[in-house]
């Protein structure tokens, strides 16, 4: 699977949580991420593969089972990894691109649905903002939801355990609230 979005949306934290959860279920795991220049407000795409026997840390062209989109326009770029069976779980959130007219929500969804029927748009950012007062945890919400909806074959309890392990004490309560919010 891939997690895509823009710099600073917490992709690497989500990757760490998923990797821990997969390890606790005895899967073989490989992930890949980018740091430095590539992170500064540009597109950030991270890869996670787990299963019985995993070699490559990168997902192959057209081979993603799940694309978790933290930003809508970035999902279109991730289509390089998609096929007609790829599930898209998308945060309803658009970060404008300087000097360019952003694509509308409608246009993006229309584009994605040309590729796969399994496209789900979630008001993660709005729900988190409304219920928790911040949309910074939209990724955790989406990830938890993916586990509850069985889009990721990892038990919610494994995700919960991993959140407790990875998230620093200071922010843990907020993240646990987010997890519970996704449950309901």
């Amino acid at each position: 699977m891939l997690i895509v979005g823009t710099g600073g949306q917490g992709q690497i934290t989500l990757l760490q949580i998923l990797a821990e959860a997969a390890l606790s279920e005895d899967y073989n795991i490989k992930t890949s991420e980018l740091h430095g220049l590539s992170q500064r407000g540009g597109s950030v795409e991270v890869h996670l593969r787990f299963g019985k026997k995993i070699f490559s840390p990168l997902v192959s062209q057209g081979k993603a089972d799940l694309i978790l989109g933290l930003e809508m326009q970035e999902c279109l770029k991730a289509c390089y990894f998609a096929n007609s069976k790829t599930a898209f779980l998308i945060n309803k959130y658009i970060v404008p691109i300087p000097l360019q007219k952003p694509l509308t929500e409608k246009e993006i969804l229309k584009n994605l649905k040309k590729i796969s029927k399994k496209v789900t748009l979630i008001e993660a950012a709005n729900i988190c903002q409304k219920e928790l007062g911040t949309n910074i945890v939209a990724g955790i919400y989406l990830l938890s939801l993916a586990s509850f909806k069985k889009l990721i074959p990892l038990k919610p309890v494994s995700i919960l355990k991993a959140i407790k392990k990875i998230i620093p004490e200071k922010y843990l309560e907020l993240n646990l609230k987010t997890f519970n919010l996704a449950k309901t």
């Binding site: 760490q16 490989k30 890949s32 220049l37 540009g42 070699f55 279109l76 390089y80 000097l99």
Partner: protein, 549 residues
Amino acid sequence: MEEILLNKPGKKIILLGNEAIVRGALEEGVNFVSTYPGTPASEIGDTFSKIQNSKFKIQNLYFEYSTNEKVALEAGIGASFSGLKTLVAMKDFGLNVCLDALLPFLYTGTKGPTVIVVADDPSCHSSAQSEENTRGLALLAHIPALEPSDPQECKDFVKLGFQISEKFKIPVMIRTTTRVSHQRAPVKLGKITKSGIGGKFIKEPKRFVTMPPRVLEMKKELLEKIEKIQEFSEKNSINKIKTQKLEIKNLKLGIITSGISFLYVMEALKELNLDLPVLKLGFFYPLPEKKIKNFIKDFKKVLIVEELDPYLEKEIERLAKEVNCKLKVIGKELIPEVGELKPEIAIIALAKFTNTKYKIQNTKYKIQILKRFPQLCPGCPYWFVFSAIKKAVDTKKVIFGGDIGCYMLFGLPPLNIQDYLFCMGSSVGIAHGIKKATKQKLITFIGDSTFFHAGIPALINTVYNKSNPLIIILDNQTTAMTGHQPHPGAPKDKNPIKIEDIVKACGVKNLKVIDPIHQKEFINTVKEFLNKKEVSVIVARRPCKFVRT
């Protein structure tokens, strides 16, 4: 961070490749670590820094962020000569910077075991200047070089590196790439060894002084060492053949690969449902030539899967002439020389190599995609500098020099003020050349950490050889691009070496320190300094928003 220090041998924890390198060094009881930050190597130093600034601080372990990679290596050489177990880490371009110190270090050899970690960045995800392959520099320096594929190997190879260094008294290089350094996977822990006590330098001029005629004897000794290490490499299990079939003899095809490419090869074999013998080379230098010859001697065709330049391919072509002159060695015909390898490239190459039918998922969907460039962060102090420059000069008429740091983004839209960009510190040296060659106005930017790294000799040259660029030192009080590491102008203990003091001492007369938030003063100074007959410097001081307290 506590997890990386767990002393529970056999337990599996998830580590980033760079963290696994740190863990390997800790398991070997490393004493001395130096580095200059650079993606994709930064987390090696950062992890040591975090450990040493925490309550888990390790006794008898010294860590420093050096001013540049050459100084980092030289410090490491001093520590090694004093008997300490030493690790030096850097990104690919760092090895260019310290090459001058590296070559003689191979001649003298080590006293305390020494590992040099170098992280390449194929596809230049976080690297301007060039798509470098430091394997070529390993050949040039005659430094034994190991190439791990995943975090487990990062740890294991660092340990092996220290062991080779100890046995043969030679520094050992661990060469990773972005997809190895920034790969996470479970790693089986070993036992952490306590670092030994402080060093002692014992005078041995015959060993540590490279004056001629001794230097040529040293070269001979180095080549003899390499021969012995080659024997070691022949027997070492990090060069291994992977196949399910018991008899390789009857097979006609084989694959040779190393590093990250090995993982893509194995993925491709799985995807294509093939079982071919694969020779995975853990050693890049010296190569286990006998093992390779034995592997290829009965094949009809062999595929070499390696990123960037065909170093292995050329060596294997040479070896094939000795044992199997009919062998078809295939490499760069199917594997690109530019850009990093990807699993789908390996799949397509292997399908062609074995005449296997395979249809890759077509992903040329007819969809609209916008290009998103990296940006200076909102609230970045460099926005103020940019804004003042736009108001002070006609940007079409002035030449703008760029250097390595966040301000490289000046070259991207919507800013577009960067007319040349090279390597660390080069903006000033090149500015001097342009000012000597033309009468055009020139403003060049250089960051604070970059100024300390390589800008000072170039500044002295502009003063000494008399040219008049306007140099703007962007002082955001941190090494921002690579993850906010400290530097001499912004150290942890708040006792800085002031950039303006250095600039003054270099003989610069036109000098001002300005907070760029004071736009009017900044604009007027730019206008004034551009008309000076001698070099001028503005230190634009305002902290990065992530270090503001």
